[in-house]
């Protein structure tokens, strides 16, 4: 096995992309992800790649659009306000059936917000990608190693479904250092995919890539084709991990960095006498509905822990379909709950499951 390196999530993102075969990076600086473009600008030329600092996020995503049209493995990264600006380009790429990888190191918002950790772009990532009837396939890592691995896999997944893939991380994962095993850098596959722009000079029929379908029926057929790919992704790409008790009283649902906090809370709550299970979706779209629905039949209630005030909980509720109460523990604006606070929410003073898990949003900030 390769040596472990103590690297942060930004470095893992950049190296993970290069190692997977990404050779084109277009981006615009924004904290807390500036180490990614910095790393790309230093290391992409080593492998014959191209790094461009665009004049804005709008330009960056459109450069990705152009590069992806040729079949190149291209990516951009940003943080919340920058990802907002990229929505139009992403919508065009979905409509043009083009693959790319976008990483969002989510920070506190709305607006310019701050550079603290947040998960408040859940809706933007899983519902968003601008206007129209398309979405980004979305995956959320919870460690530096998983970030490295997922960014690499994201390129393959994007190619497989000809759709943008969003990696949803946060300011903690961006700056946190953990041991990471790196594999050898690979080249992207040779040649161009058959759908890439080109023409008779390349010895194949002319391909035109755009997202304009004046014929309404044709647009519907395109959208149905895209929807079938999402259905196929729901068969092939659902990922989640579970921890804790086999016969739990309560299920915690959390993803990304919040699920790391909950991992420790599960241990604390179990020691205090409450049996808890944690389910951690890695794929957010497609969503592991079936796994959560099955637990909903068997637990007293579900606690959703997220760094936002009730976004991820909507997908949990859609999966649960009213089978059990689903309650929220959220922090927002760059603030983070501690494992102890999650444990206190679950366990009452006598080592039993708390009656009421959600004192309401006004109480959410009473930690620090």
């Amino acid at each position: 096995m390769s040596e472990r390196k103590l690297i942060n999530g930004n470095e893992a993102t950049a190296e993970g992309a290069i190692a997977a075969g990404c050779r084109y990076f277009f981006g615009y600086p924004i904290t807390p992800q500036n180490k990614i473009p910095e790393y790309m600008s230093e290391h992409l030329p080593d492998v014959g790649g191209v790094y461009v600092q665009a004049e804005s996020e709008v330009a960056a995503i459109n450069m990705v659009y152009g590069a992806a049209s040729t079949g190149a493995w291209a990516m951009t990264t940003s943080s919340s306000p920058g990802i907002s600006l990229m929505q139009e380009g992403l919508s065009y790429m979905i409509g043009s059936e083009l693959p790319c990888v976008v990483v969002n190191m989510v920070r506190g918002g709305p607006g310019l917000g701050n550079i603290g950790p947040a998960q408040s772009d859940y809706w933007l990532a899983t519902r968003g990608a601008g206007h129209g009837d398309g979405r980004c396939l979305t995956f959320a890592p919870f460690s530096v190693q998983e970030l490295y691995d997922l960014v690499g896999e994201a390129f393959t997944i994007a190619q497989r479904y000809r759709n943008p893939v969003m990696i949803l991380a946060d300011a903690i994962l961006a700056s946190m250092r953990e041991p990471c095993r790196l594999h050898e850098r690979r080249d992207p596959p040779p040649g161009q995919p058959e759908w890439a722009v080109g023409g008779p000079r390349d010895g194949r029929p002319r391909n035109i890539i755009n997202s304009l379908y004046v014929d309404l029926a044709e647009e519907e057929q395109v959208n149905l084709r895209i929807a079938r790919r999402y259905e196929e992704a729901a068969q092939q790409e659902i990922r989640f991990v579970e921890y804790g008790a086999d016969e739990p009283q309560i299920l915690i649902c959390a993803y990304g960095i919040a699920s790391r906090i909950c991992q420790t809370a599960v241990q604390q709550a179990m020691q205090a006498g409450v049996s808890v299970r944690l389910i951690r979706p890695i794929s957010l779209f497609p969503f592991p509905e079936e796994a959560i629905r099955q637990w909903a039949e068997r637990v007293e209630k579900i606690l959703v822990v997220e760094l936002s005030l009730g976004q991820f909980i909507e997908d949990v509720r859609l999966a649960v379909e009213g089978r059990c109460p689903v309650e929220l523990m959220g922090r927002t604006g760059g603030m983070v709950m501690t494992p102890e606070e999650v444990t206190d929410r679950i366990v009452d003073g006598r080592g039993r499951l708390n009656e009421c898990l959600t004192p309401g949003p006004s109480a959410a900030g009473r930690g620090e």
Partner: protein
């Protein structure tokens, strides 16, 4: 096994470097580790904190509400964080800047005049290494040899001429703890 070390001080005192060296040493010793920094935007004069979690299995939460150990580099760090340390925990405090009066009697507090010791070593800027040395001597997590090796790995080669003075500061910090046991 799970150990949490929370380090806090002013920006420029070396919180991030010292904690990264600790994390690197723990990783090289074959342990799992997370290094989670949080700091204000100023390069100097702001605040800097970092949580290092070390475990022999999965690290779990990199965010810790009540850490088992703290290294506190100035008075503000003591005022803001000492109250959060777990009962029976360990605090290494820089008494040059934070004094020697503390309102916790349920934790083991090692007060060391780290700025004075660092000045004796030859540079006040090694204050972070004095405190790290004191922590290593007080906790049974990694050895001074592990830390010295990590120092070579973390510090860029162009700055390796500073390694001897940093090693001296580490050793003086450790000695201070041994002598005052």
């Amino acid at each position: 096994m799970r150990e949490e070390v929370y380090m806090a001080g002013m920006g420029g005192q070396g919180v991030l470097l010292a904690s990264q060296i600790l994390a690197q040493a723990a990783m090289s010793a074959g342990l799992e580790v997370s290094w989670f920094p949080l700091y204000s935007p100023e390069v100097r004069g702001g605040w800097a904190t970092c949580t290092v979690v070390v475990a022999d299995g999965e690290v779990g939460s990199p965010v810790v509400g009540h850490p088992a150990a703290m290294i506190l580099m100035d008075k503000i760090a003591v005022e803001n964080h000492l109250g959060k340390i777990r009962p029976e925990g360990l605090a290494i405090v820089n008494s040059s800047l934070a004094g020697e009066e503390f309102d916790r009697d349920d934790v083991r507090i090692i007060a060391i005049p780290a700025n004075d010791v660092a000045t004796e070593v030859g540079s006040e800027r090694t204050v972070n290494m004095v405190l790290l040395g004191a922590y290593v001597a007080s906790a049974e997590l990694v050895t001074l040899a592990d830390i010295e090796q990590a120092l070579r790995e973390v510090i860029p080669e162009r700055h390796h001429s500073f390694i001897p003075i940093n090693v001296a500061a580490l050793q003086r910090g450790a000695q201070y703890v041994t002598n005052h046991r």
